[in-house]
């Protein structure tokens, strides 16, 4: 018996999938031309599958800030925030995030995944309860598992189901942390946050909102869904990432609870990770300023989002429930999904293909995401590519 025996099932699935589409497992961005273009399989390709919502990953000022930080402070911190890894930039970014979100405190983490792992595994423990939306991201599930708390799910975006569960758990007389996302990463749908806040307050629960996909995308100032629907005061903890609208890598949590700072000392994912490199912190700080000052980026993003959503709807595809920068096409058949994905690639457009069980409801998803940096010409080419591959599907033509 080998230590690898348990992977045989995965190997068999991969082998089977490779028969349909060997390219899927071998995608390499051979050359990055810009925030929206790369060379894949030797062919110039439009990237319609990144999370570069505001297109800031190639902003010349952000790049310059990162280069300057590398020259002044080196390529890495080589240590934990708890030891030698807290540079002045980390502290400054935390202050700037707290100011941006109008919160008392902020903690910066090395990735968005670590931010969720660190916060969820630390905020609640044995004897306490996490109540999460069923469609929450894997980093949230993993953080919950590490917490040692009881984990309960409620049906995706179903406030009645959430309330039913809060009512059932009320007699337990313990802390309950409700966890939702601002914008869900697979279908781009929003949480019914105003109703969720009302229910969590009725039952005296805490609320953590992951605004990974909604920061920079929603709200008059880009603070996310809570700002957009005017319920920021009802959200206890906001978690977010630097790897989407801010074009880098990293994560954070902001809160008005003064005890947030204590999480640093209790959180193993925070303590036992090297801190973000100076270049990442420098580009993120500048990107955060641009997110606030350059509202035209958000406007352009939404023009592109609405364009693609409408086009795919007009073509008869089954898309997510509402327009958003994440435009997902639902497909029941894997072979059809592979054919469409390959067809788009052949037409010079890369989108993400997501397969069950990573998708809600067991469907395959062709998950496109648009950026403020996509030009009208690129958007037209993405729409043309979808039109061209449309005939490969069994989807009935829209009337």
């Amino acid at each position: 018996m080998s230590i690898f025996d348990k992977f045989q099932q995965l190997a068999a699935i991969r082998q089977e999938l490779e028969k349909s589409c060997d390219t899927f497992f071998n995608i390499v961005m051979e050359e990055i031309v810009s925030g929206t273009e790369a060379v894949i399989n030797g062919r110039p390709t439009i990237l319609a599958g990144s999370n570069n919502y505001l297109g800031l990953s190639f902003d010349s000022d952000c790049i310059e800030a990162a280069c300057d930080a590398v020259r002044k402070e080196g390529t890495g911190t080589t240590g934990s925030r708890m030891a030698n890894g807290t540079f002045s930039g980390h502290v400054a970014l935390e202050q700037e995030l707290a100011e941006f979100f109008n919160r008392q405190g902020a903690i910066v983490f090395s990735t968005g995944y670590v931010a969720n792992l660190a916060m969820l595994s630390t905020l609640v423990g044995p004897g306490e309860i996490i109540l999460l939306d069923a469609d929450c991201h894997a980093s949230i599930y993993d953080g919950c598992r590490l917490a040692g708390a009881e984990i309960h799910r409620f049906r995706h975006n179903d406030v009645q189901d959430l309330e039913k569960r809060l009512r059932r758990l009320e007699k337990r007389n313990t802390n309950v942390l409700v966890v939702v996302e601002g914008l869900y990463s697979m279908l781009g749908d929003r949480a019914p946050l105003a109703d969720i806040v009302a229910v969590k307050e009725k039952y005296g629960a805490y609320l953590l909102v992951d605004e990974a996909h909604s920061m920079g995308v929603l709200g008059a100032n880009g603070r996310g869904l809570a700002e957009d629907v005017g319920v920021e005061d009802g959200v206890d903890f906001v978690v977010g990432t630097f790897s989407k609208s801010l074009g880098a890598i990293g994560g954070f949590c902001v809160s008005n609870h003064p005890e947030l700072n204590l999480v640093r000392y209790a959180s193993r994912p925070y303590v036992f990770t090297a801190s973000s490199s100076p270049s990442v912190i420098a580009s993120t700080r500048l990107a955060l300023k641009f997110l606030q000052k350059r509202s035209e980026l958000r406007q352009r993003l939404w023009i592109n989002a609405n364009t693609l959503y409408k086009k795919l709807q007009d073509l008869g595809f089954t898309v997510g429930p509402e327009p958003s920068p994440i435009v997902a096409v639902k497909l029941e058949d894997k072979a059809e999904a592979f054919a469409l994905w390959s067809g788009l690639l052949e037409h010079g457009v890369y989108v993400n293909l997501v397969l069950p069980p990573a998708t809600p409801d067991g469907n395959c998803l062709l998950r496109s995401s648009v950026s403020a940096a996509h030009t009208p010409e690129q958007m037209a080419r993405i729409c043309q590519a979808f039109t061209a591959v449309r005939e490969l599907t069994a989807v009935p033509q829209a009337v």
């Binding site: 309860i129 069923a134 919950c144 009881e150 984990i151 309960h152 799910r153 049906r155 569960r165 059932r168 758990l169 007699k171 069950p356 069980p357 409801d361 067991g362």
Partner: protein
Amino acid sequence: MQDYKNILEELYKILLPFVPQGLEIEEETDLVADLGLDSLKVMKIVESVEDSLDISIPLNILPDVRTVKDFAVQIQKLIGDG
């Protein structure tokens, strides 16, 4: 208060649509090996049981559930713990 037998009957009812033709469901039926349930189906079944018995089932118990009997025992414990 639900007794073990009632819980088992309720589980049989909920699991029935997932039972392959020709298989008789019983206490020792293995949810994965015999019924071929994947994680998504397991979650749907958990939701149905929660609604039917008006309880909340923590995901933490699932690693200890292999058979229908295991599931029934865990549910009985949850109801007992109140």
